[in-house]
């Protein structure tokens, strides 16, 4: 248990240290951020917006084929890329600027 937690911590820190990563947010099932490296307002903004976006994406995927499921969401914009790993009880969000 502890080693898993430590491993997860370590991996998360590694991700945060990669080139171009602006920040990471972990959001729980209710849309509340539980761990973040960004400031509060940005975190709550991203959490709220991406929660509903992810549910929309998931329902789209499952409407097309009910046996399918969403595994990853990448939103590429001009200035950055938002990566979301959605699961049933959490959302892992990483914002990266890939062209640095």
């Amino acid at each position: 248990m502890l080693t898993e937690l430590a491993h997860a911590e370590e991996t998360l820190k590694r991700i945060e240290g990669h080139k171009g990563v602006i920040g990471t947010i972990i959001v729980n099932s209710e849309g509340l951020p539980i761990r973040t490296t960004l400031d509060n307002s940005t975190t709550s903004l991203y959490a709220r917006l991406l929660c509903s976006f992810t549910t929309l994406a998931r329902s789209t995927v499952r409407d097309v084929d009910p046996q399918n499921d969403l595994t990853f969401v990448r939103i590429r914009s001009k200035k950055q890329e938002i990566l979301v790993a959605p699961e049933n009880n959490y959302l892992l969000i990483v914002i990266q600027n890939p062209s640095e």
């Binding site: 248990m1 898993e4 937690l5 491993h7 997860a8 911590e9 991996t11 998360l12 590694r14 991700i15 990669h18 080139k19 171009g20 990563v21 972990i26 729980n28 099932s29 209710e30 849309g31 509340l32 539980i34 761990r35 509060n40 307002s41 709550s44 903004l45 709220r48 929660c51 509903s52 549910t55 929309l56 998931r58 329902s59 499952r62 409407d63 009910p66 595994t71 990853f72 990448r74 001009k78 200035k79 890329e81 990566l83 790993a85 699961e87 049933n88 009880n89 959490y90 892992l92 990483v94 990266q96 890939p98 062209s99």
Partner: protein, 757 residues
């Protein structure tokens, strides 16, 4: 009279005429006429008032007098029966003296009753006459001036007296007759029985009608005509009502919701709200219900829970902490992290990975292309063969450790196992094995710490998760890379008595076909060690045990002996009869034959079935043979490299090498290219050389010098792409891409043959 009335009753319709009659007051006639409604008789007039004094007589078409007669006739009063009736009537009428109408209705009702009860012997008309006369003659007890009928009064009284006396005296005969049935309402049925008399006529009529109906459409005789009904004027009426409050609710249901119950509904909904202390969060979440999309239940419940205002700060912090721990320790989270890391790195290494995978490089349209980069890219597009460094596998763990060997995974071509360790005899420090993935150049997928410096690694083919690690202390460990637990090896040969006494220089998994089964391939682990033994290992009782396949006896002494023709004792080398074997390689097609290179510089061709004798010995090198490799594309050709800075190309049945290549430093490893039969690569401490037999025998086509201070130690070709992986003494594994190597695809035998010649 009676007969006319009787006839009258039977007739359905008849016109009735009114004629005034001279008889008394026609009041009675009128009223009686009104009272009696013979079926079919038409009453022309109704005169309500008692004004006409003349009696009206009604005649029908045949001039029969059908004047409705009153019930009671005066001339019957002589008879005792009638008197009785009159008495009754009078008695009854006295009670109704006040009302005029009442008296007239009374006889009527009486007459109806009489028809069922006791009545006079005469028919109704006689009763009528009787009644009429009675009413005419005697005084009207109802609102009529008494002066009109004074004499009737007297007569009535006398009649009364006579009657009572007569009644008291004797038995009177009373005749009871039934009146005719009075039809009050007669609606004839529209159904006619088939057996009726006029049934045939009716059937005929019906048929004609149906024909008419059928022909009506096309017949010119019949024309449809519309009739407009007059609509009455509408009248508006206004009412007032209470306002009904209407609430609109709607939801959008998607096929996803109907298919599976949404898992998000099983959320913990706690009445006390968990909210951060940030006011903005509260504001945002309150605003969201207004513009939320009611997509799924989960979304709406999220919003509804956010819109509650109670905040429990203590509870909230605890809950989030528990949540975060629970989330972060779950397996799915680990996987999400892995996925995320790879995605992030893929963004960073996109161009390199694309080059590795031979995908077209896409230009990022949003990326600002600096002029420096443009120049660089232009300079690189030269046509000469070159190596391009794609990336370097390096992490802090491996920094400073010397790369001793590398191996690709047989099943997953992206997985590379790298063994680190200082293999000098002086220090036997701990070793490390890292499994790197192409998808993550920054951090290894698996890290395995070994007790001793790692000298060789090899992946198994049958069970691709098993990695055999040979170490400096002579032990062999088999690790399972699929499990994340890297603590203990799967199997270890530490306890084996027959383990290698010196470093295990090379390990190989080899598949051998069992002769009796034919199809089945049994894989075994072979190793060659510094103690000069080639062993075959197998798993017994959770540990490894080996059998000696071959003992590498020293050959050079015997050779010198024969040359000098002097009997020399072998006592010199009694200490070590065996020479360390440094490398070996199995034949690609015939798994029974293998080559092994020794410390002495000899290359022996051996067979698995023959453990005592070498099949062949190739002598050329005079320094330890570091690497031997069969050509994968051309049978019978193999390469050997040695510390004497030469690379020899041999053919299996030829004692002497076909070709010789010189290098400037001791060559550590040599590898054939898996794609091109004429390309091979060699690495020595100072540089990486790519040789192409097509272009030159003397010089390598590409030379990549090592970075200053680094020594290149290990080499591998990537199987699917034209990349070369080179390990160096600083723990870095560099991936180079071969560019512009002009090699034809069909370069196999036709190039080898002239070389052989």
């Amino acid at each position: 009279m009676s007969t006319s009335v009787a006839k009258e009753g039977k007739k359905m319709r008849c016109a009735v005429m009114l004629k005034p009659s001279k008889r008394g007051s026609n009041l009675l006639a009128l009223t009686s006429r009104r009272s009696f409604t013979f079926s079919g008789s038409k009453i022309l007039d109704r005169m309500a008032g008692p004004t006409p004094r003349q009696a009206v007589r009604v005649f029908d078409e045949e001039n029969n007098d059908v004047t409705p007669q009153p019930f009671y006739r005066a001339d019957l009063r002589a008879e005792p029966g009638s008197r009785f009736l009159v008495d009754e009537l009078s008695a009854g009428s006295t009670s109704d003296q006040t009302t005029f109408t009442g008296s007239f209705t009374m006889p009527f009702s009486r007459s109806v009753l009489d028809s069922s009860r006791i009545s006079s012997q005469s028919t109704t008309e006689s009763v009528n006459e009787e009644m009429e006369e009675t009413f005419c003659r005697r005084d009207f007890p109802f609102n009529l001036p008494e002066s009109l009928l004074p004499d009737e009064k007297r007569k009535k009284g006398s009649v009364k007296e006579q009657m009572t006396q007569a009644l008291l005296k004797g038995i009177k005969d009373i005749l009871i007759t039934e009146t005719d049935t009075i039809s009050l309402l007669d609606i004839p049925p529209t159904l006619v029985s088939v057996n009726a008399d006029d049934a045939d006529v009716i059937i005929e009529i019906n048929k004609q009608y149906s024909e008419v109906c059928r022909n009506r459409r096309n017949n010119e005789k019949y024309v449809d005509r519309a009739v407009q009904t007059l609509n009455g004027a509408t009248k508006n009426k206004q009412i007032q009502n209470n306002l009904m409050l209407m609430v609109d609710t709607a939801t959008i249901v998607s096929a996803f919701e109907m298919y599976a119950p949404p898992e998000q509904e099983v959320m913990v909904y706690s009445p006390e709200m968990k909210q951060t202390n940030d006011a903005e969060t509260i504001v945002d979440s309150r605003r969201s219900p207004e513009r939320s999309l009611s997509l799924t239940c989960s979304a709406s419940t999220v919003i509804s829970t956010c819109s509650l205002k109670d905040v429990e700060t203590v509870g909230s912090s605890l809950n989030t902490q528990v949540d975060s721990e629970r989330i972060m320790t779950s397996d799915k989270f680990q996987f999400s992290l892995l996925l995320m890391e790879r995605t992030v790195l893929r963004n960073n290494f996109q161009s390199q990975l694309a080059a590795y995978r031979k995908l077209p490089l896409l230009q990022d349209p949003d990326r600002l292309v600096k002029p420096k980069e443009k120049e660089q890219s232009e300079a690189e597009t030269s046509c000469s063969p070159a190596l391009q460094c794609l990336w370097v596998f390096s992490c802090e763990l491996s920094r400073g450790c010397r790369v001793s060997s590398m191996a690709w995974n047989k099943k997953n071509p992206d997985l590379l196992a790298v063994g680190y360790g200082e293999t000098d005899y002086r220090n036997h420090g701990p070793g490390l094995v890292c499994c790197w993935s192409i998808k993550n150049p920054m951090w290894p997928e698996r890290i395995i710490n070994c007790d001793s410096a790692v000298t060789t690694v090899d992946f198994s083919s049958n069970s691709p998760g098993q990695l055999a690690v040979g170490m400096c202390d002579g032990s062999i460990a088999i690790h399972n890379v699929q499990s994340t637990d890297n603590k203990s090896p799967f199997i270890s040969s530490r306890e084996c008595a027959k383990r290698h006494l010196g470093p295990v220089w090379q390990l190989r998994w080899n598949q051998q076909e069992l002769s009796f089964t034919g199809e089945e391939k049994v894989e075994s682990l072979y190793s060659v060690g510094a103690d000069g033994r080639i062993c075959k290992w197998f798993v017994i009782n959770g540990g490894l045990d080996c059998t000696d396949l071959m003992k590498l006896k020293k050959m050079n002494n015997t050779l010198r002996k024969t040359e000098q023709n002097k009997p020399e004792k072998t006592a010199e080398c009694v200490l070590s009869v065996l020479t360390p074997g440094l490398c070996f390689d199995f034949h690609p097609s015939d798994s029974n034959i293998y080559l092994t290179g020794t410390w002495e510089g000899n290359i022996h061709k051996c067979s698995c079935s023959n453990g005592h004798q070498f099949l062949e010995t190739y002598r050329k090198h005079f320094c330890p043979v570091n690497c031997i490799t069969w050509c994968p594309l051309h049978p019978d050709v193999f390469l050997s490299c040695s510390s004497d800075s030469t690379i020899q190309l041999w053919k299996q049945d030829c004692i002497n090498p076909l070709l010789s290549f010189t290098s400037n430093q001791p060559v550590g490893e040599v590898r054939w290219s898996p794609k091109h039969a004429t390309v091979f690569s060699a690495v020595n401490e100072g540089q990486l050389e790519i040789w192409d037999l097509n272009s030159s025998f003397l010089d390598p086509v590409i030379v990549q010098p090592a970075a200053p201070g680094l020594k290149m130690t290990s080499l591998l070709f990537a199987s699917l792409t034209d990349c070369v992986v080179v390990g160096d003494s600083d723990g870095q594994v560099t991936v180079y891409q071969l560019q512009n190597l002009h090699v034809g695809e069909s370069s196999q035998d036709n190039h080898m043959e002239p070389a052989a010649g």
